[in-house]
Structures are given as C-alpha cells and as structure tokens.
Symmetry: C2
Subunit: 376 residues, 2 copies
C-alpha cells in the first residue's frame, strides 16, 4: 500500500467505510503522463473524483479539465480554473447547462448529433466544437461504446454543418473505453480521426485538435502495459497519420490520475461459511456496490485487497456489500483468496479506489451514509 | 397517472429530475394489504423509501417497520415509532449497530449464520431472533436469493443454539424475491418454515412467528396477479401447514406500499436518430441508472412512461441516462415506443417510481445533484 496512506490509516482510527486519497500521488501520476506524452494537454476527467483538493492540486500543475456537467464546470471555476482550461465534454447537454457554460465563457464543447449541434449554435454561438467518433472498445474492462459517438461519414457532415451555422469546427474526440489494456485501440481511432481531418481539409476547413479521451489503465488484479507503451504507440500512429502537421492533442485521463492514489478502508461485518452450504466463505463488507464500488458491476473492476493477516493461510471467499440487495455482491465469480483468520470487526483495505468511488456512492441506500473522504 | 400527482405537476414548474410521492396512495395501499391479509402485521421495508412523510403516515396507521440498518432504526424512532414496532431485518449487522439498537430497546433481530447469532447473544442478550431461510426466487423480477438465508437443517440447528445461548428463538423469515409475480413462491417457503417449526417443537421450543418478507408485485410493464390472489394462496398454505395453531404473521412490503405512489418527472436532454446509424432513436433523460433508476440494471424493472403527446404516432426508442457512463442505458433490449414528436426540453413521467429511487441515487456522479423529492 502507498506508505503515506498506510501511515495515515495507522495514525487515525477512522470511521469506516472511508476513502483516503494521496494528493502527492496524483501529482506524480500527472507528471508521469505529461512526460510520456509531452505534446498533449491533459484535461482531467473531473467525474473520476471532483474533490476540491484534487482540483486545486491540478490547477497548480496547469492541468485542463474535462467536465461532464454544468455542476462540474462550476466546481472547476470555484477551484480557480480559468474558463479556457475547461472542456464541456458530455455530448448531451441541457439547454440550460449550455447557456450557463456559455455565460461563464466556456469555449470548448463536445457533440455527436445534429440536434446537439443546433443547440450549441443557438446557445453557445461561435464556440469551438468537436465531434465524438464511435470507436472500437475491445480490450477495455469498462467499455464506453454504444451510448455515444458517431460514424466518420456523419462526423464529416456534422463538422461541415457546424461551420455553416457559425460554430468553429475544432476537431474530433473518441473514447477507447475505460481501463483499456490494448495500446492499439488508439491506433484505429487515430486513423479514423485522420479520415475526418482529411475530408474537412478538402473543404478548406482545417481541424486543429484530436481528443484521445481517457482509458489508460492502472494496475488492479493483473498487470497492464506501462504508460510508455501507450505513448509510443500513440505517437507513432499520430506521426504516421499527420506527419509534420500535428494537431493539438488532448487527453482526458480520470482513472489514470487518481485511481492508484486512493484506498478504501472497510470493516468486515460478517465472515461466515454460511451453515451447511458448500462453497467459499462469505465476507460481508461495510461498503458495496451502492456505497461507491459501482464498477464491481459484472465484476469488471477488481480491486486488490490488503489485510492485516497477509502471509497467513488463505481460502476462497465471496465478497459482498452491507445492503439487503441481492445484487450487492462484489466478487463471486472472480477468485479472491483471503486469510482464514479474518473475522467480523477486522478492517481490510481496497487498493486503487481513488477513481469513481466517492461519486457513484448512493445518498442513503439501506440508510447507510456516504463514505467519508480524506485527502492527504 | 395518479390525478393528485398530475395536478401537482401541472400546478408547479418543478426542477427536474424530481420524484413526487402521493402519501394518500400509500395509505390506500396499506389498507388494501391489511384487508387482504388481516392476520398479518405489516412491517414497512424502510429501505424502499425512508422519507419522513411516509414514516409519519405509516405510524399514524399503526404500521410496524423493517429496518436494514441502525440509521433506518433511528429514522423510525425519530419519526415517533416505538422500539417494539421495529424489526432489525438485515441478517448482517455491525456490532456497533447491534449495540445501538439494543440500547434503543429494539427487541427483534434477523440472522442466518452462527457468527451473527453469537454477536446477538453478546450484544443484544435475551432478545427475540428469527432465522432467515434461503428459498426459491423463481418468478421474481429482482431476485434476492443467494446472498442471504440458510437451509432448513441449519436453521433448526441455529435456533436450538439461540435458545442455548440465552436468546429467544422467535421464528423464521424468508424472501421470495422482489416483484415476485408467482403466488406459489410463498407456498414452498411456508412449507419450509413449517418444517422448522415442527423440528423445534420436537425440542419443546415453540416458535411464534413467520416473516413472509416482501415481494408483492406492482404493475409496471405487464399485468401482475392481484394482491387477493397472493392472500388466498398464502392463507391456504398457512392453514394447511399450521391448522388452528397459526403463528404470528409478519409481512415486509416495500415496493407494494410506495411503488405506485411515486412519479418521476424527467426532462429529455436529447432525442436523436444518431446520424447515419440504423436502429431506434436514442432519447437521453436527465435521470438514469445513477440518478436513482438503479433497478433498470439488466432492464429488470420497466417503468411505464407517460408523455404529453400520448396518442400520436410513436416509434421505437432506446432510453439512456445523462451521464458519460456507457452502462447508463435504461432500456435498449426492452421494446419501448414513444411519440415521434418528443424533443429536447420536453418532460416525460416515469410511473410507479415511488420505491427504491430516492435512496439508490448517487451523491454526485457526473456532478449531477440528487433528484428533488416532493411528498404531497
């Protein structure tokens, strides 16, 4: 475990469940990504964790921000970000949200339909817009395809239309899926982007930007390629497609910046063989799918677990949350083995839980209050 | 739509998304269930919706309460419920929660493992305990089996043990699964319960109570059996198993009491054919799986939808939530048809959303604040 968090946990008797996030680790992640892909502007995906301490640190590092809503834009502005540092990256936006963002001088907006484009032309005239492409999400543990994005052909039409209705066609974006473990997923997507750039150039419209989205993986239960492998693959693909005429590159990391900076401390409510039933022990934790671990749906994201008895004899376990809900089971198919000594009242740590935990957490399902958060 | 809610929606320009709940409808549902199964005590499953207005109304009707956590117990007590009206129905409880409940004079506790039983004996001595049986959930749209409950044989052992360690072995419980559409699901479960009663009687321990759980279905997308069909089936089964020696009967309805009393009003953010892609229109709402509609996971619960253009020409749609998350799609496999006229900015109503919406809602995923609630 991150030593700073480990020390903090030992020094404080915290109420569980709680999330501890090491802000220095986030700075380190930011610098690492910046060094790996130095020609890219990093737009932090605020939705991964909108805590003020994180926004403050990233502002001090001159980060940009990818906001999914007017509320996230407000959080960034309140933390001191300039409007020019913020992209409104959700392709579906309420008119009221577009109006508010425009009033706040936000200059950059995503879209992927003709309807959204017309909303933007009306309520955020003359701003920079970029079209999201639908791309392959194979290789991603948490796919994001299907719901957003459009075809190359349609993106070309839309960007031409953007120009006609007074917007600034600025570029394209895509998302290869969250926790994407295959660097080559970016290659196909960059090639699609280049097709759009070339088609627009034929109409004398010079797009300026490619938004590569997020998706860089972090270490959960298995090894993933290093960020440098992604960087090399991406740079080669960009060079091949654009040569010396390199567009502005935008990245939207969320998980990559904050995921490994967080640890969830949770108490075991019950550890039981469950009577005469065969099969593994059930361990019920005081955090579950509705307490913030939403990404365990389908057992997609598999957090490493640390216990005070690590090194002693282990056995297979099923891990479940504290609520009465039958779907509130974290890992049943995934093979987790934990020390046999673990019992009710013991605390265990779920690693790499800095992203997408505090925000997914339900307001009060089963009466449980949202987990406490500590930013250190 | 419920006319009282319809009138309220027309009279007020509410911020969306929001939930409007008709308290009179809850009273009507309570009375209906009470008349259908008059020999049962109704323990409202607070987790379905813990709003103070609902608790107040149910207290005025002399309802009992099934609490999933110490926090829910507190809500009931704060609303004026007596400790004797409250069951601590979660089979897995933190020691601190048991201690708090015992201090607050809660008398009735669920369990299904030897570990929990020993926690109860230590921290809530001499209280009444009931053992949850694992029963078939076939026929339920939202199954609750797998995570809780034990076998008949083990329940017998545990209840004998309860006696030995100074607890009062009070009865058994089961849950046939939420939105259970097959009345006969209760028959098998009652028969299992009778086996436990008989075995304990052989040891001169007279169990007093069967907790039939919840599960009574309400009308979503398809017709479901009337409550009277369930009542008849249950009464017949109880008579067959227990004759004149009828135990105390407990019900734990949640959805049945509050589900049809609620309507969610939501704004369409975008309605789009999504470019050159084939297939239905996509309609994006300002509420999704993480804004409270968690039970649309796997498209399990299918809310009826009312629009201002009902009666006009419709077409197939895919319904999605407002967040950037790829899994935030409500209905893609389910065949929903909505008026072609619907466009961004229009409001639609999701019916029968009184249960399990306000509490599942995330604290701030994508920056969206929890839906507003109106109890009328």
């Amino acid at each position: 475990m991150n030593p700073k968090i480990s020390q903090f946990l030992n020094a404080n008797q915290l109420t569980t469940p709680c999330l501890i996030v090491d802000i220095d680790q986030i700075e380190q992640n930011y610098q690492q990504l910046h060094h790996a892909i130095p020609n890219a502007d990093i737009y932090y995906a605020v939705k991964a964790n909108p805590a003020l301490s994180i926004l403050n640190k990233l502002i001090s590092l001159n980060s940009f921000f990818d906001a999914a809503s007017w509320e996230e834009i407000q959080s960034c502005l309140n933390a001191g970000a300039k409007p020019s540092q913020i992209s409104f990256g959700n392709t579906i936006k309420k008119v009221s949200a577009i109006q508010a963002a425009y009033q706040a001088n936000i200059e950059l907006y995503a879209f992927d339909t003709i309807e959204e484009l017309h909303k933007l032309a009306k309520h955020a005239p003359a701003t920079k817009v970029y079209c999201r492409l639908a791309v392959d999400n194979i290789g991603a543990d948490w796919p994001l395809s299907g719901k957003f994005g459009t075809t190359v052909e349609h993106a070309i039409e839309l960007l031409l239309e953007a120009k006609k209705i007074g917007l600034c066609p600025y570029g394209v974006s895509f998302h290869v899926g969250s926790q994407q473990t295959n660097p080559h997923a970016y290659v196909n997507a960059i090639e699609k982007s280049a097709l759009v750039f070339n088609a627009l150039a034929d109409h004398d419209i010079l797009l300026e930007m490619i938004n590569l989205g997020g998706g860089f993986p972090i270490h959960y239960h298995k090894d993933v390629p290093e960020i440098n492998q992604f960087a090399t693959t991406i740079q080669n693909s960009l060079t091949q497609c654009f040569g010396d005429d390199m567009p502005r590159i935008i990245l939207e990391p969320g998980r990559y910046l904050v995921g490994n900076a967080g640890v969830v401390s949770t108490e075991i409510i019950q550890s039981s063989q469950r009577g005469k039933m065969n099969g593994p022990r059930w361990i019920y934790l005081d955090i579950g799918r509705f307490g913030g671990l939403a990404e365990t749906e389908g057992e997609a994201i598999r957090y490493p677990i640390i216990t005070m008895y690590d090194g002693s004899t282990t056995g297979p376990v099923i891990l479940a949350g504290p609520s009465c809900d039958g779907v509130d089971v974290l890992y049943q198919e995934t093979s987790y083995h934990l020390p046999l000594q673990l019992t009710a009242g013991d605390r265990i740590a779920l690693l790499n839980t800095g992203a997408y935990v505090s925000t997914y957490c339900s307001t009060c399902f089963n009466g449980f209050t949202p987990l406490e958060e500590h930013y250190i």
